[in-house]
Symmetry: C2
Subunit: 208 residues, 2 copies
C-alpha cells in the first residue's frame, strides 16, 4: 500500500471528510494537523498553497482540493457511489455543500473566530436566508433517498461533508435548525456509522 | 439509450462543458437554451432552482450542478479520467476552476453585463491578483502533463471548463494573459480536438 500523509489544520472543516474516509476503510495514514505558526513554511510545499493536501508515496504525488481527496479515498473504500448515477449524486451533493459553505462563509468564520465581522448583521443577511434555502434543499435530497443519506441509501463522503458542517453550525447557531430537526437526526445517523465509532471517540473536539 | 434534455441559459458559461462532452461522444441530447424571460417559470421545475440541469428519461431523473453533469456525461465518453489518479486530477482541476470562477465572478459578470459594478476597481482588486495567481497555477498543472491538458495527457471535461472560461476572459481582458501566453495555446489545443469541430463551428457565438 502506498504511504499517505494528509495535511490539514487543527480543525475538522473541509478536511475532516477525508480523515473519516480513511478511518471508515481502515486505511493507515499520517494525520498531520498543522498548527497555524507552522503554516507559512509548509504553505510553500503545497502545490496550490492550500490544505487539505494529500501526499502519496512519500510526496511523489500531491493531491489538492478537499473534494478530490475525499472522493479519491472514498472510491477506495466504497464511499463514492456504487453506480454511475450514485457517483453523480455524490458529486452533486458535494457541489451543493460547497455552494452552501461559500455563501455562509463570512458568518461561520466570524462565529468561530477566524474573521472579525459584524455577526448580527451576518446572521440576518447571510445565515438566516442561506440556511433556510439550503436546509430545505438538503431535506429534499435526503427524502429522495428515504431519509437515509444525501446521495444514496448508503453513506458516502458527501454525508461526511454535510454532517461535519451541520454539526459545527448547530454548535453556534442551533436556532437555525428550528423546523429542520430532521437534519440533526441525519447528523446523528452519520455519526452512528459503526466503522467511524473508534475515530469519533478519540478525535480532538473542535468547534469547526 | 435514455433521452437527455439539457437545460441552461443562452451562454456557454458553466453549462458548455456538458454540451461539449455530449458532442464529443456523439450522444444525442436536446440542448435547451433558456431565454431569460422564460426562466422564472422554468426555475420551479429545477430541483435546486438552478441550471444547468440534466433531465434523464423524460425527467424521471434530474441532475443539478455543472460539475456533476459534466462528469456524468464525461464518464460515458472517456473524458473523466482513465485511472483513479486521473479521476482525482480531473476533480482537483474542476474544483480549482470553481475557486477561480468564484473569486473573479464579480469582475466577469460586470464585464459581460450581468452585474453593474465598478469595473476599474474590480479589475485592480480582483481580476489582476486572482488571474495572476490562478494562471500561474494552471500553467503548473499543464506542465505536469507535458503541456498537453490540465488533468492528464488526454483531454477531459476539466479542460472544457477551463478553455471556455479562459476564452471568455481573453475576450474582454486579453492583457491579463501577458506572460501567460501558453494558456491561449492551451485553449487552441482544446478547441482543436477533432470530435468537437462540427459543434464548435455551428454553436452560437456568445461573449460568455
Amino acid at each position: 500500500m502506498p504511504d499517505y500523509k494528509f495535511y490539514y489544520f487543527e480543525v475538522r472543516g473541509v478536511g475532516e471528510p477525508a480523515r473519516m474516509a480513511f478511518h471508515y476503510g481502515g486505511i493507515p495514514f499520517e494525520d498531520i494537523r498543522v498548527p497555524q505558526q507552522e503554516w507559512p513554511d509548509l504553505k510553500k510545499k503545497m502545490p496550490q498553497g492550500t490544505v487539505p493536501c494529500l501526499f502519496i508515496d512519500n510526496g511523489k504525488i500531491k493531491l489538492s482540493q478537499s473534494s478530490a481527496i475525499a472522493l479519491y479515498i472514498g472510491r477506495k473504500v466504497g464511499l463514492a457511489g456504487r453506480t454511475e448515477l450514485e457517483m453523480a449524486r455524490v458529486e452533486e451533493a458535494i457541489a451543493t455543500y460547497k455552494d452552501l459553505y461559500t455563501k455562509m462563509a463570512d458568518y461561520c468564520y466570524t462565529m468561530t473566530g477566524f474573521k472579525d465581522m459584524d455577526k448580527d448583521e451576518l446572521y440576518e443577511k447571510q445565515a438566516k436566508p442561506v440556511s433556510a434555502q439550503y436546509f430545505t434543499l438538503l431535506s429534499k435530497m435526503l427524502k429522495k433517498h428515504h431519509n437515509t443519506f444525501v446521495a444514496s441509501q448508503k453513506p458516502t463522503v458527501a454525508d461526511f461533508f454535510f454532517a461535519e458542517y451541520l454539526s459545527s453550525v448547530n454548535g453556534f447557531a442551533p436556532e437555525l435548525f428550528k423546523g429542520h430537526e430532521g437534519l440533526l437526526d441525519y447528523v446523528k445517523r452519520v455519526h452512528s456509522i459503526p466503522q467511524l465509532q473508534d475515530y469519533l471517540k478519540k478525535r480532538p473536539k473542535t468547534a469547526w
